[in-house]
């Protein structure tokens, strides 16, 4: 007696079709799982057996072989539990096999038979839809997420419930996918930032033009505070973008059950103790890293020179190409990673430089060594570099700043303008740029960067052309000048 259930395995963000075949035969009772199943997958034996008995169903006293096909594809994780259990039950005649084959199945089993959600459900459900399956049997918690893939997601809380449903004894309404609505702002508001006019302005430019931003200044001047407010002024995600981000977060297993659709631009701030694999993605079975989790949002590298060199260098691919390719023996996975990078750093290793109240005792060599932890190639990726020295007079008395909402309206308008028609430069602006190249250390790449920022400045000003004052402002953010020199 053979029965089959359909499920999927994740390769990167892609779901590959996997058929679970259960075969019962006479012989010494036993249970074997074959088909390149990893450790967690092998342990399914125990969960499945306990789950079936806990659900007051009968564990067939036969020699049971479960094959996960195609056998060449590496299977990982606990998401096959439910499909294995149902295939065994179908093979032993406790569940109608034909009806089971109408569904794609995904879910982990608890020992008491409850069905637990697994990461990547939305990607698996999309795979099911592509393979022509319209119904997905999954844990109740992940059903709304599966519904986003455009399939009928059948939520089941317990193995017994799944069996009752498949036998036709119980009807279950498919889960409603969540609407794309902006959640109450979970990002902090720019109104909290008092003073810091230049930093705020740079943040607005970064949001409008998708520029990477480097904030340089002594500790406690509000670099991180400012950086955390960038997601709040980014344009809201479109539905396609939201789905794309949701898929990544789901596969990485960081999607909260209460909020199955990511609607706000994500914000990720890995600690500087992070490994390269955790930032760009990796693992034997590739998983997205922080760079991909920040896709369509913001990646903050606080205290950037403290990050290991290999981590920073690994970021160059996503910064250049907008994706991460993780190559493994088993195949390559492509994770999208198009994010706004914000870096922060001190002006010197002791942090005293730029602070009038502290005397910095760093030697010139130490300052150079500190700066050189960031390669020129990486620094070149920052269109905007802003020094944030500690103000002498207290700024706390300043009035609350403009709220994020108002800034975001300008950002959205500027993005539209940038997308519609890139502004040309006036003759005066071109002349200024030539003069600047003569006078300032400005590489060819630096020149292109200034021109790009100038277009954003013009778009924010609602101007049809890049005027010389727009270009002048762009020049004020050029990279090397605001970095401490030795």
């Amino acid at each position: 007696m053979v029965a089959r259930a359909l499920t999927h395995a994740l390769v990167g963000l892609d779901a590959r079709r996997v058929e679970v075949e259960a075969h019962l035969q006479a012989g010494i009772p036993g249970f074997a799982i074959v088909g390149l199943a990893d450790r967690a997958c092998q342990e399914a034996k125990h969960r499945v057996r306990s789950g079936i008995t806990s659900a007051s169903l009968e564990w067939p006293n036969k020699r049971i072989t479960v094959n996960l096909a195609p056998a060449a594809l590496r299977k990982e994780g606990s998401g096959f539990d439910l499909s294995i259990a149902l295939a065994v039950l179908a093979a032993s005649g406790q569940v109608p096999a034909v009806r089971l084959w109408e569904h794609a199945v995904v879910g982990e089993l608890a020992l008491d038979g409850r069905v637990r959600p697994v990461g990547g459900t939305i990607a698996l459900a999309e795979g099911a839809r592509r393979n022509g399956f319209e119904r997905v049997l999954c844990a109740a918690e992940s059903a709304p997420e599966a519904g986003l893939a455009g399939v009928e997601a059948v939520p089941v809380r317990h193995l017994a419930e799944a069996v009752a449903y498949l036998r036709g004894e119980e009807a279950i309404d498919p889960a409603q996918p969540p609407e794309l609505e902006e959640s109450a702002l979970e990002t902090p508001d720019l109104a909290d930032v008092r003073g810091q006019e230049r930093g705020r302005r740079a943040l607005e430019l970064a949001a409008a033009g998708s520029h990477n931003l480097l904030l340089v200044g002594p500790p406690g001047t509000g670099k991180t505070m400012l950086a955390r407010r960038l997601p709040g002024i980014l344009p809201p995600l479109t539905r396609d973008e939201a789905l794309e981000v949701t898929r990544i977060h789901s596969v990485a297993g960081v999607l909260p059950a209460s909020r199955p659709l990511v609607t706000n631009p994500p914000f990720r701030a890995p600690h500087h103790g992070v490994s390269a694999a955790a930032v760009v993605g990796g693992g034997t079975v590739p998983r997205p890293g922080e760079a991909s989790l920040a896709h369509r949002g913001v990646l903050l590298l606080d205290e950037m020179p403290e990050f290991p060199r290999n981590v920073l260098e690994a970021l160059r691919q996503p910064l250049e190409e907008g994706f991460v390719a993780v190559s493994r023996v088993g195949g390559a996975a492509i994770f999208p990673a198009r994010f706004a990078l914000i870096g922060t750093m001190n002006m010197c290793p002791c942090g005293g430089r730029g602070d009038p109240a502290v005397e910095c005792r760093c030697s010139a060599q130490r300052i150079v060594a500190y700066r050189e932890r960031l390669s020129r190639a990486l620094l070149d990726r920052f269109d905007l570099v802003v020094a944030m020295p500690r103000p002498r007079a207290t700024e706390l008395a300043a009035a609350p700043g403009e709220p994020s909402r108002a800034v975001r309206e300008r950002v959205v308008a500027a993005r539209r303008r940038l997308n519609e028609q890139p502004a040309g430069r006036t003759a005066a602006a071109s002349e200024l740029l030539d003069r600047a190249v003569e006078r300032l250390p400005l590489s060819g790449r630096g020149r292109a960067r200034v021109a790009r920022v100038a277009r954003t400045v013009a778009a924010l000003a609602g101007s049809d052309a890049v005027e010389s004052e727009h270009l002048a402002e762009a020049l004020s953010y050029r990279s090397p000048r605001d970095l401490p020199e030795a």
Binding site: R200, V368, A472, S476, A486
Partner: protein, 284 residues
């Protein structure tokens, strides 16, 4: 291009030959005429770990000196020395770097690019043959050549016991003028240079102070005054250095306008930025 110039050869700079112990020979890197070493020159020296004030003054002072046709001599070290060379290069001037190691060694390594630019029109000289490693005990000897090539020495910022003070000692011994840019009396970075002022060194408050000391009279037109908001920013900066934010608050201008105006002023050589703080240059 590497040359060697022996004492006694006609192009050996007479000014240098007149000191107590002139180097027997000079190794020279760069294609410029050797006559460059005999032109009116001013040494601009100071702390390696200088403040943004020292950096900005060294640069703008050297720029103005170069515009007046004076050769700027320094030691290509980090900090004030490097800025002195850069300021001169910025104005298209000629500059001479005197090294305490072989002329083929870019020391400090970070100044390799600077060395290349100096050599385009200026010269790098050393009494040590190519390949000689930099060593702490070679730098004081190098300083006697810096002073020896110059008519006057300007100290921008120096701690107590700074190497720049050694250059000053040589300069006084050799009968050169010593000028000092006054620094903040509360800053340890200026303790050595301010002490020189107390001992009677001439203060260098403008580039003219330096030019008068070496007997050069230059008719210079005052740069055109900026108008409108630019003038307001400049006026505010003349009172005290300020960050862009402080300027925005003091003048009521938007951050975007302040940024754009400051760049215009910077390109005009009127203000300089360091570590996010803007200050007027000596040309302002």
């Amino acid at each position: 291009m590497i040359r060697r110039l022996h004492r006694g050869e006609p192009s050996y700079p007479p000014f240098l030959a007149s000191i107590h112990d002139p180097p027997e020979s000079l190794w020279i890197r760069g294609p410029a005429e050797l006559e460059l070493l005999s032109r009116p020159a001013v040494a601009v020296v100071g702390a390696r770990a200088c403040s943004s004030y020292g950096r900005s003054v060294a640069r703008s002072l050297s720029r103005e000196l170069a515009l007046a046709g004076v050769v700027v001599v320094s030691g290509m070290a980090r900090g004030v020395d490097g800025e002195a060379h850069r300021g001169s290069l910025e104005a298209g001037g000629l500059t001479v770097a005197v090294l305490g190691c072989g002329i083929d060694r870019d020391y400090p390594a970070a100044h390799g690019e600077l060395a290349r630019r100096i050599c385009e029109h200026g010269l790098i000289v050393s009494e040590y043959e190519p390949g000689v490693e930099p060593a702490p005990w070679r730098f004081p000897a190098r300083n006697r050549i810096i002073a020896g090539l110059s008519r006057a020495v300007v100290v921008v910022e120096a701690r107590e016991r700074s190497g720049a003070l050694i250059t000053v000692d040589f300069a006084l011994e050799q009968g050169r003028d010593v000028l000092v840019v006054p620094g903040e009396i509360t800053s340890a970075l200026s303790a050595g240079s301010n002490a020189l002022l107390r001992l009677g060194a001439a203060p260098a408050l403008t580039v003219d102070d330096v030019l008068v000391a070496i007997g050069i009279v230059v008719e210079r037109r005052a740069p055109p005054e900026p108008e409108g908001d630019g003038a307001r920013l400049l006026a505010a900066l003349r009172d005290a250095p300020a960050t862009a934010d402080e300027l925005a608050r003091a003048t009521g201008l938007a951050a975007a306008d302040v940024a754009s105006l400051l760049v215009e002023l910077e390109l005009a050589g009127r203000v300089a930025a360091g570590d996010g703080v803007y200050r007027v240059t000596i040309a302002a």
